[in-house]
């Protein structure tokens, strides 16, 4: 019996976007995120060879082995995925850079690189798989863990957290979202929108570590997130290639966020209005949520008026890695001119 295989807009089956089998703990939030990455890249119809998957070190940073098996990737060193991505982006600006990192990777050892990649507006999707602990080194607290949160073993955490979304917004990042690994629909829409954004797109995804911090006193456990989080809006992603008459019009209020590639992220108003264009409103909302010991999820901030790191460079159209010798080495005639100038 032949089965109909569903193809995406570039006629590829989803299996073209999957990776090797995961070796993470069963139930780990990071595996859910990998699933969403596969889904989002497939549905957006991105040619797998055009994607570069980048990561640092950690359980989260291992996951590029488990998705997009037909894409090149680089599992770099702890906390320094952004710089490697920067170098790659400079010589090949045509690739879609998709980075995954952990909260240890990004909020501690790599916080400097995280900050500077945002400052440069590096054109990439930056996913933080945030579990509040260092999973791979067996469950020490990370810098994103909330004050009062407690992992499975040991004392509760006493230090205030670094909120990576707050940080990114403060630095002027043009796309900042927070989601939850278990919120498949929301995360998929946000991921697709991030892939459609030109410039740095940060998604901080709460991703429970089932082995070290999935007890209810841990603010990043499945149980806690289910009861203590609030969506800022409903999110629905509309592909630029999708006929508009196929798109449902929501009953309540909504707002469309126009994305770089022509796609739209539709934000449906839930209980309260939220202005994603105002960075100070986002900071205030995050602050209030922290006081209430709650997570807020959705598109926190969007703004498109910054050039990307590669646009800033004024580079030739052809990716630098594809230039031929005559573009890379000054000609012999030019060389003689230069030497004559030195000798004058």
């Amino acid at each position: 019996m032949s089965k109909v295989i569903k193809l995406n807009v570039i006629d590829r089956p989803k299996s073209d976007y999957t990776g090797g089998p995961s070796s993470l703990c069963p139930g780990c939030g990071h595996d859910q995120i990998s699933g969403v990455i596969i889904q989002a890249c497939w549905e957006n119809g991105i040619e797998p060879s055009r994607i570069a998957k980048m990561s640092g070190i950690g359980c989260s940073s291992k996951t590029p082995a488990y998705f997009l098996g037909q894409s090149h990737g680089f599992n770099t060193v702890h906390g320094r995925m952004p710089s490697v991505t920067t170098g790659a982006n400079m010589v090949n600006k045509d690739l879609v850079y998709l980075g995954v990192s952990g909260d240890g990777d990004s909020a501690s050892i790599g916080i400097g690189q995280f900050i500077h990649a945002i400052r440069r507006n590096l054109n990439m999707v930056y996913i933080i798989e945030n579990n509040g602990v260092y999973g791979l080194t067996k469950g020490q607290y990370s810098a994103t863990v909330e004050k009062g949160s407690k992992k499975r073993k040991g004392a509760p955490n006493e230090q205030p957290p670094i909120d990576m979304c707050k940080l990114a917004i403060n630095l002027g990042c043009g796309f900042v979202a927070r989601s939850f690994s278990g919120a498949k629909k929301q995360l998929t829409s946000l991921m697709k929108a991030a892939l459609s954004h030109n410039g740095m797109a940060v998604i901080d995804v709460i991703s429970p570590c089932v082995t070290f911090a999935n007890n209810d006193e841990s603010y990043k456990s499945y149980g806690y997130v289910k009861t203590q989080s609030e969506e800022l809006h409903g999110v629905d992603y509309i592909h630029h290639f999708q006929p508009m008459n196929e798109v449902d019009i929501p009953e309540g209020g909504f707002e469309d966020v126009e994305l770089f590639d022509g796609s739209v992220l539709r934000l449906e108003t839930l209980s309260t209005e939220y202005d994603y264009t105002d960075p100070t409103a986002a900071i205030a909302a995050l602050h209030a949520a922290e006081v209430d010991k709650k997570h807020i999820t959705g598109l926190l901030h969007h703004n498109t008026d910054m050039p990307t790191a590669d646009e800033d460079q004024g580079l030739v159209d052809t990716p630098l890695c594809d230039l031929s010798e005559d573009m890379l080495r000054p000609s012999k005639e030019r060389h003689e001119e230069i030497m004559a100038r030195f000798r004058a």
Binding site: A52, H72, V77, M90, L95, L320, M327
Partner: protein, 600 residues
């Protein structure tokens, strides 16, 4: 006065100018250097500057030498005193019979009856020309005095002034006026005969002065650098700035689009990461730094070695350990570069000894990096990198760009039997690679253990085999790297093995030793891993000295490690470092001492 009688020495003297940092004396010193150079006098100039922007003592040493000696020289013949802070110490160091030129406005005495002394109120005179710039212009007066003393040709001088101020009319006029005033006052006021003079020589056709950093910058541009990442650090910053300066002229299309990105990184960790990213994506990435930066980059350096990612890093060595003497010179980073990072690692290090080689290794470094799929270091130092050297011109690259074993099409891929990213299909230790974006055999590069297909592996045999292949790859690289420069005597008494900027002192050292009747051959190492010719050189000589500018004998250590064990007893280490560019006498004496200890 009790001044010993002396013949006039022609083109054989040392000028030492003592000033404070930030007083603009560099222009005056370069004018002196350049005008002598214009006359065809073999000269070298060394800037001994402090780690400070303004106020601390600075010395500039100019040596004229018909023999072509470029080391700083053992003594000062003409001392210029401009700095109150070092005044008395500078006076004390001067030998009997030397010339002392001083700025009277410093208001300190010069009590040396045994010297030829001349003072001018330089600051006051300068104020008469331009009160705002008096501090700078004051320096031009000693140029005028020296011009008179040693007989610098006016045409050459004017050319040098024009060059220094890039033809800016007002600046050229003001400074020439001060120089002329100084010269005239010296003509009138100096009653004694100068013991030193310059005599014009046939200027070597086509030569010019340039520092090693600019030469390496140009070389990198000819090497097709696509991405420069850097974090400022003395003495490497001017290498990056050289690239930035030349890119618009040499690497932009007619419509002003660039073929090289420049990123000022947040630190050296990031700078190294960017180099790896560029190399991984198929571009030519480089960074330049000094010792502290290499220390920070080490983790990435190991990743590049293990994951086989090409890239270029220049280390312009300054004095370590730690922040050390940040504005002084040393060859103290060889060990660090050779084996940077944890675990078993080794790296290719190119060691230029001349500005011409800074240029050549600048472009070759990228070819080696892509050919051997590994990081390649350019190893220069402050002396070579920041001082001006006579250059005979840069030879246009005699080989096309070598992109190494990159599979770019499905046809190419099909022609390779049993492809695997880390499989040695050709038997030379170098595997093939594919680039992101190509869709050809994509893999996840990683710093973790991997098998021949790039898949994660902790298998003992897989790991061991991989490490042995990496070793083989670099061992095979030896014979492709720059071979040593050998100047050999027929009588094989003593061989000196040395590297890098020691080139500028070696001939003088050689001559001093040969005065004792020994014959000295020279072998300048230009790369590690060591070229097989070096081994042969040692075999041919009775005694071999390994000479270098550091404390521990790092090159000696490399030789001991890489040479066949039977050759090791033949080599002895002479290593010395005090932050100064190597003064020939010190090293020659140390060598003679070691030779006296007899063969072991």
């Amino acid at each position: 006065m009790c001044i010993p009688e002396m013949d006039v020495s022609i083109n054989d003297f040392v000028i030492n100018v003592a000033t404070a940092n930030g007083t603009g004396s560099q222009s005056s010193n370069l004018i002196l250097l350049n005008s002598m150079f214009e006359m065809g006098v073999p000269v070298s100039g060394k800037n001994l500057f402090p780690s400070n922007i303004s106020g601390l003592p600075t010395w500039y040493i100019i040596r004229a030498s018909d023999q072509g000696y470029q080391a700083p020289g053992d003594k000062t013949d003409i001392q210029v005193l401009m700095n109150a802070d070092t005044w008395f110490k500078d006076i004390e160091k001067v030998e009997s019979g030397s010339v002392i030129i001083f700025n009277e406005n410093v208001k300190l005495p010069v009590e040396r009856d045994d010297c030829l002394v001349f003072g001018l109120p330089m600051t006051k005179l300068a104020r008469g020309i331009n009160p705002k710039m008096a501090k700078m212009i004051a320096n031009m007066y000693y140029v005028g005095v020296i011009q008179h003393l040693i007989g610098i040709d006016q045409v050459a001088l004017e050319k040098a002034v024009n060059r220094q101020f890039k033809g800016k009319k007002s600046a050229v006029e003001v400074n020439l006026r001060a120089i002329e005033e100084g010269r005239k006052m010296a003509e009138e006021g100096i009653t004694w005969d100068s013991p030193h003079a310059v005599e014009a020589r046939q200027k070597k056709e086509g030569t010019f002065l340039i520092d090693g950093n600019e030469a390496a910058a140009l070389g990198s541009i000819y090497g097709g650098v696509n991405m420069l990442s850097w974090y400022p650090i003395t003495p490497s910053s001017s290498l990056a700035e050289g690239i930035i300066h030349w890119l618009p002229q040499l690497r932009e299309t007619e419509d002003g689009m660039s073929t090289c990105a420049v990123v000022q990184a947040e630190d050296e960790l990031a700078a190294a990461g960017m180099v790896l990213g560029a190399g991984w994506a198929g571009g030519r990435g480089m960074t330049c730094t000094s010792g502290p930066g290499i220390s920070l980059m080490s983790e990435f350096i190991g990743l590049a070695y293990f994951a086989e990612v090409p890239g270029v890093i220049w280390d312009v060595n300054r004095v370590g350990p730690s922040t050390g003497l940040p504005t002084r010179t040393q060859q103290g980073d060889l060990n660090l570069l050779r084996e940077a990072s944890h675990g078993d690692t080794e790296h290719i290090v190119l060691i230029p000894g001349t500005v011409e080689e800074c240029f050549e290794f600048g472009w070759r470094a990228f070819d080696y990096a892509e050919r051997f799929q590994t990081l390649v270091f350019g190893f220069s130092d402050l002396d070579l990198g920041m001082n001006n050297w006579v250059c005979s011109g840069f030879e246009y690259p005699d080989e096309p760009i070598d992109r190494g074993k990159v599979v770019r099409s499905a046809e190419q891929m099909a022609a390779i039997e049993n492809y695997g990213r880390y499989r040695d299909v050709d038997g030379d230790g170098i595997p093939y690679r594919t680039l992101p974006g190509s869709g050809l055999d994509p893999i996840l590069y990683r710093g973790t253990g991997h098998d021949e297909d790039g898949i994660y592996s902790e298998d003992p045999e897989v790991y061991q085999k991989l490490m042995m292949r990496l070793k083989r790859k670099l061992f095979n690289a030896r014979k492709h790297l720059p071979s040593p420069v050998i100047r050999e005597e027929t009588q094989k008494d003593v061989g000196i093995i040395y590297m890098g900027s020691m080139e500028n002192s070696i001939q003088e050292i050689d001559d001093i030793i040969e005065e004792t009747g020994l014959k000295v051959s020279q072998c300048r190492v230009r790369a590690v891993p060591l070229h097989p010719d070096i081994e042969a050189f040692i075999e041919r000589h009775n005694r071999v000295i390994v000479l270098e500018i550091n404390r521990d004998g790092q090159l000696y250590g490399v030789l001991r490690k890489e040479l066949p064990i039977n050759l090791v007893p033949k080599i002895s280490s002479v290593a010395y470092s005090d932050g100064m560019p190597p003064r020939a006498r010190i090293y020659a004496d140390l060598i003679l001492e070691v030779l006296k200890e007899g063969a072991q």
